[in-house]
């Protein structure tokens, strides 16, 4: 009975808990309810994943109205993969947040913060389950507005200009997407994605659809922080409260990438002549620039969180690189990297949250020698860093391996692309090493207050780290989900 309503529950649970959390007001209680709601959403997404693995796709009609007229929710492997990341990282970050947020947000504002958090979660889940282009827009704005609030909750005043930039760029992106949807609706008269794909076949003049494809791709690229539209990301991640960074770094951009891939590969690819080439020519150079430039910037960055944020820009480059090959192997690698990068980055940002408990400034020169005082935190950082670099035995290795084999298979330019991937992995070694060097071999500060982070933070951090190792050794579930998602998106390819 409950089984069949899981797609709706995925959104409803966090969305209805959000006002309750706000009404509770009390810090501890509101945290407990928010965490419980997030864990419930995680359980629902596990249930949905099991359904998807068993029967490949499940569709849910809101109010039992038939599909192109009513609103349809659709869960396939791609949504299941992303749902696991979104709800999982939200839960783990909230659990860590019990301790970490106490330092960063005053007690009376915490209930409001958790409420915004649940709205962001509900919005992201909504994007992932919805099969309706306009609903995706509405959920996108719900999640974006809530994440602006999350970032603005940071204790540093520099969070405010960062959030203003995030807000203007995010709104421009969403409005571009809205224009694109409008043009498609103008030509096809439908908003349901599957119906849209069918009806574009019947459209005589494809020029508006082409313009719509441009608007949607650029708008979503803004939201997904695809280079050079990433300028809002580094500061927003740096000044957000630490656990909010964990959540946003793992999910916010990935969810927009999901919509981008769904539109470009599923809706436009079979209908627009030469779209694969236009898409690849647009995305491939940008991905390479993102990988190289953002990694280079990260190598010279002093602020620990901004360093990791720049590395996120580079990792988004890997994902889009995989997608721009427009092959099943490439797309599988890209989707797998969405999953594995979320694992690695959550663990790294959680380790930052641990460090922030006893180090005043998260700068490379001010964490000298902390590894002697905080051995567990730094060990977690090193292991997660290895996963980010892509060392065998960690999750990062699996996706890089698939990415490299997909690029090799993509033709004569493949070798060049592999070279870029290898060079940027070496750059990742450099920027992770700078942190490790300072923490392990740097001159110790005399500050006696530096002590190991509390267990309440170490446990979620190590859970994330162990997940990195687990999915490095047993990558079956994400691999199966992403390869069947690639099958669904590129169904028209042999």
């Amino acid at each position: 009975m409950l089984q069949q309503h899981l797609p709706a529950l995925q959104v409803i649970v966090p969305m209805l808990s959000a006002p309750l959390v706000m009404l509770l007001r009390e810090r501890q209680l509101s945290w407990m309810l928010a965490t419980a709601a997030s864990l419930c959403a995680f359980a629902v997404s596990i249930g949905l994943t099991r359904q998807v693995l068993a029967v490949s796709e499940s569709s849910y009609l809101m109010g039992s109205w038939p599909a192109p007229y009513g609103i349809e929710l659709n869960i396939d492997s791609m949504s299941a993969l992303l749902l696991l990341i979104v709800t999982g990282s939200s839960s783990i970050a909230l659990i860590a947040g019990a301790r970490s947020l106490r330092e960063q947000i005053e007690g009376e504002r915490q209930a409001l913060f958790f409420s915004a958090w649940l709205l962001a979660l509900a919005g992201m889940c909504g994007i992932l389950v919805s099969a309706d282009a306009f609903n995706i827009f509405v959920f996108m704005e719900i999640s974006s507005l809530a994440s602006y609030v999350l970032v603005a909750g940071g204790p540093d005043r520099r969070a405010l200009p960062a959030v203003f930039k995030y807000l203007t760029m995010g709104t421009i992106g969403a409005t571009f997407y809205l224009i694109g949807i409008g043009l498609i609706y103008l030509m096809t008269g439908t908003l349901n994605l599957e119906d849209m794909e069918l009806r574009i076949h019947e459209v005589a003049d494809l020029k508006p659809i082409l313009v719509a494809a441009g608007f949607i791709t650029v708008g979503l690229a803004l939201k997904a922080a695809i280079f050079p539209l990433h300028v809002w990301l580094p500061n927003a991640y740096t000044y957000a409260p630490h656990v909010a960074t964990v959540f946003l770094a793992a999910c916010a951009t990935k969810v927009s990438l999901y919509v981008l891939l769904r539109f470009d590969l599923f809706v436009f690819q079979p209908n627009l002549a030469g779209h694969d080439l236009q898409f690849a020519y647009f995305l491939l150079p940008l991905s390479l620039l993102a990988i190289l430039i953002a990694s280079a910037v990260a190598m010279f960055e002093q602020n620990l969180k901004r360093l990791l944020a720049w590395s996120s820009v580079a990792q988004i480059g890997y994902i889009t690189l995989g997608a721009s090959l427009v092959s099943k192997a490439g797309l599988t690698a890209g989707l797998l990297h969405i999953f594995n990068h979320a694992l690695a980055k959550s663990a790294l940002f959680l380790a930052c949250a641990c460090l922030a408990m006893s180090v005043a400034k998260l700068r490379i020169d001010s964490i000298g020698g902390v590894a002697r005082r905080m051995p567990w935190t730094m060990a977690a950082f090193v292991l997660a860093g290895l996963s980010l670099i892509g060392v065998p035995g960690t999750a990062g290795f699996i996706s890089k391996w698939y990415l490299i084999s997909a690029t090799f298979a993509s033709g004569p330019t493949g070798v060049l692309l592999v070279a870029v991937i290898v060079i940027s992995s070496l750059m990742a070694v450099v920027y992770i090493w700078r942190v490790v060097e300072s923490a392990y071999f740097g001159a110790t500060t005399d500050d006696q207050a530096v002590a190991e982070a509390p267990l309440a933070l170490l446990i979620p951090t190590w859970t994330a780290v162990l997940l990195n190792l687990y999915f490095g050794l047993f990558p079956d579930i994400p691999l199966q989900l992403s390869s069947s998602a690639a099958e669904t998106l590129l169904w028209h390819q042999p």
Partner: protein, 118 residues
């Protein structure tokens, strides 16, 4: 003549670009937000015009008149939602501007950057 006949699309494009220009070029944060609202409003107009059927009236079913010509109500419903989204965005943006003014004492982008650099 076809170019003039499509004047409502010209209105859309001009409003859109005016708003976009303000968001990019203006340094004052309030003016940026004004531009953003204009930018969004232009898209609302795009949706409203596409739903209009020539000679069509409001889509209200009246008893006994089966052959009425209606405008498409769906874009209007969509835009009602989008207007709500737009208002929330503007409200949140203004709230952030107020906080910026409290913290920095300025709402000019270059001055804020200057203060941060120190």
């Amino acid at each position: 003549m076809e170019l003039l006949g499509l004047y409502y699309y010209w209105v859309f494009a001009i409003l859109l670009m005016t708003g976009f220009y303000a968001v990019i070029a203006k340094l004052n944060l309030i003016k940026k937000l004004l531009g953003l609202s204009l930018f969004q409003a232009a898209v609302f107009l795009l949706y409203i015009t596409m739903g209009k059927v020539e000679g069509g009236t409001a889509p209200i079913l009246a008893r006994g008149s089966a052959e009425q010509l209606f405008s498409n109500p769906l874009p209007q419903v969509l835009i009602l939602t989008a207007i709500v989204v737009g208002i929330s965005t503007t409200a949140l943006g203004l709230g952030i501007v107020v906080r910026i003014k409290e913290e920095y004492g300025s709402i000019e982008e270059h001055e804020i950057l200057e203060i941060d650099r120190q």
